[in-house]
């Protein structure tokens, strides 16, 4: 097995004949924080949707620990240990924060098929264990005070934390973050940066799309830049930052980069 936990090889994804991702390749090392940047509409989220099984690419390979996972349904991807957050937050809005995070424990729970109807001692034990874990995560993300609050009633910054806690509850090997800092203020962004470092320290590999250049440059160990669905540059943050192709892509696009 190679040193790479996730390999994307020549992936192409089309919508109604339009190319959203064009012959894209990248390799993610275990334990790495991997950044993906690029102007809006470049195909970054589409790439994440291909990895997590929401879309199936027409061409190419997606290898997870050397095994092809292209076309695997999303829930099985999660069972493999690939968990994600969404660019537009997708929480179970009416449900409490604790119940939202509990969804991450779904794949870790050992309840038997009949436990939905008949409780057994093992079921009670499992139920308790999962809630304990939820409690730990609420403490880690400083959410305990909101345990019973409906997730949809909370502020944007808090919702982003709940989404990360939920993904982390599933004990992922690879955590995919789609613009985790979007909509956060400076203080919250700083907290988020620290949190991501702590998650990395737990041994979780992280892939992240982010527009906040300061954050993505300081966190990422390796960066791929995408524009119009294709890779235009990759390398260490210091290299990518000064790559004229990248500068051109950002200035040439409609997108205003508010952080420069």
């Amino acid at each position: 097995m190679s040193e790479y936990i996730l390999e994307i090889k020549n992936v192409t994804k089309m919508f109604h004949g339009l190319v959203a991702i064009n012959d894209l390749s990248m390799k993610v090392k275990k334990g790495q924080i991997y950044g993906i940047i690029g102007p809006n509409g470049a195909g970054k989220t589409t790439l994440f949707n291909c990895i997590t099984g929401i879309y199936t690419p027409e061409m190419g390979q997606i290898l997870w620990k050397g095994k092809e996972i292209k076309g695997t349904t999303p829930y099985k991807i999660a069972e493999l240990g690939i968990l994600r957050t969404f660019q537009t937050i997708r929480l179970f809005a009416e449900m409490s924060v604790a119940e939202n995070i509990m969804s991450g424990r779904h794949i870790k729970s050992k309840q038997k098929w009949y436990n939905g109807v008949i409780p057994t001692p093992a079921y009670f034990k499992d139920e308790k264990e999962q809630w304990m874990k939820v409690g730990e995560l609420m403490e880690f993300f400083n959410l305990s005070q909101y345990a019973t609050t409906p997730a949809g009633d909370l502020s944007y910054g808090v919702q982003r934390r709940i989404e990360m806690a939920r993904a982390l509850a599933a004990e992922p090997e690879l955590l995919i973050l789609d613009e985790p800092a979007a909509g956060l203020n400076e203080h919250e962004t700083q907290e988020l940066t620290d949190t991501i470092r702590k998650i990395q320290a737990m041994g979780v590999t992280i892939m992240m799309i982010e527009h906040d250049m300061e954050m993505v440059m300081s966190l990422s160990e390796y960066i791929t830049v995408i524009n119009f669905g294709a890779k235009i540059s990759e390398g260490l943050p210091s290299f990518v930052q000064d790559d004229p192709v990248v500068v051109e892509a950002y200035i040439g696009s409609d997108e205003e980069d508010e952080h420069e």
């Binding site: 997590t52 929401i54 349904t73 999303p74 829930y75 991807i77 999660a78 069972e79 968990l83 994600r84 969404f86 997708r90 929480l91 179970f92 809005a93 009416e94 449900m95 409490s96 604790a98 119940e99 509990m102 969804s103 991450g104 424990r105 779904h106 794949i107 729970s109 309840q111 098929w113 436990n115 939905g116 109807v117 008949i118 409780p119 079921y123 139920e127 308790k128 999962q130 809630w131 939820v134 409690g135 609420m138 305990s144 005070q145 909101y146 345990a147 019973t148 609050t149 409906p150 939920r166 993904a167 599933a170």
Partner: protein, 316 residues
């Protein structure tokens, strides 16, 4: 809050426990049917209110249970007790077979497909396919429950059997809500894509909901056939399905008290106003519209946040 709800529950339990001693036989029968319909409504709520599947053919599973008991008893001379397990298992099996191919359909498409199953079921009953269902008239003369030479024949026994059935149903609902299965259904209901991304198989849990729901409805059907000692197709047609569907939404999806209130309003109140035969469904329709406008999530909406106490210590 918790205490107030428990108090109400306790009072209701007491009232319903002694109810048979204070009413005449007509009202006793209504009480029994109320308990049976509550079971069916709860089972509809597993599919509709929890898994969020637009299911408008639930009377079929209710009818399958009823006809299983009726056919086994009247056509094959088996005791009622022997029909209990098949009356639960056959609807479960049918749910699995029928829901399998359509479970991936989007809301409204699934709604009309389930109506379709119900209509086909009724035509099969009316056309008396295997000479077993008795055609449009149905089957008469269903026996009572007998155990060790004892007959549970009186309406009071019927009432308490239905009472126990509702107790079992409530126990299942409570277990379901506090298990990964019930929660998975809610996750799918609230956001299918997010649920899948957390490792929840949409297909598995929607089918699970269907199968459990069908089993409970089947048990209720068996009880229903014994209570009236007869079954006929019109008791299980789409109109009935629409009633169960409406009960859940008027009362409050996924809310235990809500579904009981819904059953009371949709079934017991029309019985109370029986004298106003002609106008009552007009008023009824108006009430449905008004309830939805005033309480779009039902009269007693579900409250989430039912988590173990040790997680609430920091909640202000």
């Amino acid at each position: 809050m918790m205490n107030k709800t428990s108090m109400i529950a306790l009072v209701l339990l007491l009232i319903s426990g002694v109810y048979p001693f204070f009413v005449d036989s007509a009202w006793l029968a209504i009480g029994t049917t109320f308990l049976v319909f509550s079971c069916v409504a709860f089972s509809q709520d597993i599919i509709l209110g929890r898994a969020g599947v637009f299911h408008m053919g639930h009377a079929m599973f209710f009818g399958l249970g009823a006809y299983t008991t009726a056919i086994m008893n009247v056509q094959f001379g088996l005791p009622i007790l022997a029909s209990w397990a098949p009356a639960v298992l056959i609807p479960m099996f049918v749910a699995f077979v029928l829901a399998g191919p359509i479970i991936h359909l989007r809301g409204d498409y699934l709604l009309v497909a389930t109506i379709g199953f119900n209509i086909i079921f009724i035509q099969v009953l009316e056309n008396d396919v295997f000479g077993l269902t008795g055609g449009p008239n149905g089957i008469f003369g269903i026996d009572v429950v007998r155990l060790f030479g004892f007959e549970f024949a009186s309406q009071t026994y019927m009432y308490y059997m239905a009472f126990i059935l509702l107790g079992i149903t409530l126990f299942i609902m409570r277990t379901l809500d506090r298990s990964k299965f019930g929660r998975a259904m809610f996750y799918i209901n609230k956001d299918e894509i997010a649920a899948q991304s957390m490792g929840v198989s949409v297909r598995y849990y929607k089918l699970y909901a269907f199968i459990i729901g069908a089993g409970i409805a089947g048990a209720a059907g068996s009880m229903f056939s014994v209570q009236y000692s007869a079954v006929s197709p019109e008791a299980f047609d789409v109109t009935q399905s629409i009633m169960f569907f409406t009960i859940v939404l008027v009362g409050g999806s996924a809310s235990l008290p809500g579904v009981l209130i819904g059953t009371f309003i949709m079934f017991v109140l029309p019985e109370v106003f029986r004298e106003f035969e002609t106008a009552r469904y007009l008023v009824f329709g108006l009430a449905m519209i008004l309830t939805m406008i005033l309480r779009p999530r039902g009269i007693w909406p579900v409250r989430f946040g039912n988590i173990p106490n040790f997680l609430k210590k920091d909640v202000k």
